[in-house]
């Protein structure tokens, strides 16, 4: 494998090493501001009381669960159209992060709903769509682990990611339909009909904080994935070199 193929990812690793400390700092600052606003400044909802504070950690995770799939799609296009090795790495690093944020959206959504609905899970339309999205993330991760060659795996996962993206609106539509079929009574919608401006600002700040967190973790995970590929290449070269030594 020519060294030139590694050159671009190497530049990425160097860049990541320089940028990550700043990203960590920015993330910490954003979270400090967001948590302060959410916990101490935002008022209680007249209906839900203080449990509305869960919204400030639920909504950003729900947003991220969709955003990360979008990032995976962009990376997938990079893999299929340009065969860019950095695209493969970006795809692979994003999947577990997306799954984690989706999981958090589900758990916080369930905990938010429990005081209102009385049970931890009521197959609410939005949470059920997120559950299906979680299964799709797990499917992607399973596919990554099923193919040994990272480049081939990246291409397979890219197709699955894009097919999934096409289907997400269809799935969302069908789950909404299914939900109205089975719950004709007015269902309490997470988030309420409108969100007051005094709650929008903390929500916005927390959304930025979580997005910064994803970007930071993503770049860090990409850096590690590049190293992992380098190790794999070296191992393969060593194995070939050992063969040559034996024959000579």
């Amino acid at each position: 494998m020519p060294l030139i193929a590694l050159a671009n990812p190497s530049r990425f690793v160097a860049l990541a090493n320089r940028v990550l400390p700043w990203l960590w700092g920015a993330t910490a600052v954003a979270f400090a501001a967001g948590l302060y606003l959410s916990l101490f400044v935002a008022p209680d909802d007249y209906q839900q009381g203080a449990t509305v504070k869960i919204m400030f950690i639920h909504v950003p995770n729900a947003w991220l669960s969709m955003f990360v799939w979008g990032v995976m799609c962009v990376a997938a296009l990079g893999t299929l159209v340009w065969r860019h090795p950095l695209a493969d790495v970006a795809q692979k690093a994003a999947a577990p992060l997306g799954a984690a944020f989706t999981f958090l959206a589900l758990v916080t959504g369930s905990l938010w709903g429990r005081p209102m609905w009385g049970t931890y899970w009521v197959w609410d339309a939005r949470l059920t769509s997120v559950l299906v999205l979680f299964l799709m993330y797990l499917g992607v991760i399973a596919l990554w682990r099923a193919v040994e060659d990272p480049s081939r795996a990246a291409r397979a996962v890219a197709i699955l990611t894009l097919v999934g993206a096409i289907n997400i609106p269809i799935i969302k539509f069908s789950v909404d339909w299914w939900n109205t079929l089975h719950q004709p009574a007015s269902v309490f919608r997470i988030g309420g009909p409108t969100i007051d401006i005094s709650m929008l600002v903390p929500l916005f700040v927390m959304a930025i904080a979580f997005t910064l967190l994803f970007v930071t973790l993503h770049i860090a995970a990409m850096r590690t994935e590049i190293l992992r590929r380098r190790i794999r290449t070296l191992r393969l070269l060593q194995a070939q070199g050992a063969n040559v030594g034996v024959r000579a």
Partner: protein
Amino acid sequence: MSAFAALLARDIRIALRIGGGALTGVLFFLTLVTLLPFALGPDLALLRRIGPALLWLGALLASLLALDRLFADDQADGSLDLLLTGTLPLEFAVAAKALAHWLTTGLPLVIASPVLGLMLNLEPPALGVVTLTLAVGTPALTFLGTIGAALAATLRRGGLLLPIVILPLTVPVLIFGVSAANAALVGPVPFGAPFAILCALTLFSLVLGPVAAAAALRHGLE
């Protein structure tokens, strides 16, 4: 066109041969519908109420489990490479194979469903409606499933990966299929709307399935 027909005929012939696995899907369907009352109890009223949903779930699982044979044999003996380099565009080749798979696996499920519906105490009008929805919906399940089959084709131990990957994509088909099937029984929602959406989903899958599966095969076999 004749290449398409030739591939279609070949696949049907192979599937119907001994070891081709064509009718095992129906057998699984029958077994499942037999098992369900063991789990649920023989309450006829309950079975009638959830009968359409049980039939749909059974057809879905039977379709998915039969899908890994779609490309496995061709991958093993090298015919898949021939298809890749042949004159028939790969998308059409995949479509021909998927159609053959539905004719030998999905269609038998559709034909078996009225009989199994009787076991679940469904009334004749309900039987007709369920069979119609399955007839329209099982092609969607097969064609969406070819995407998973193509992704898993080159894996030695594909196993449950294929269902895991495909099941989320089949959720809309399941929802609208059951919704249409139930409309004859329960009827708060008319039959037309979900059935039309089901038809649209099937048509959509007839395009998306072969295109995505062909892409997966091309990228996976280099």
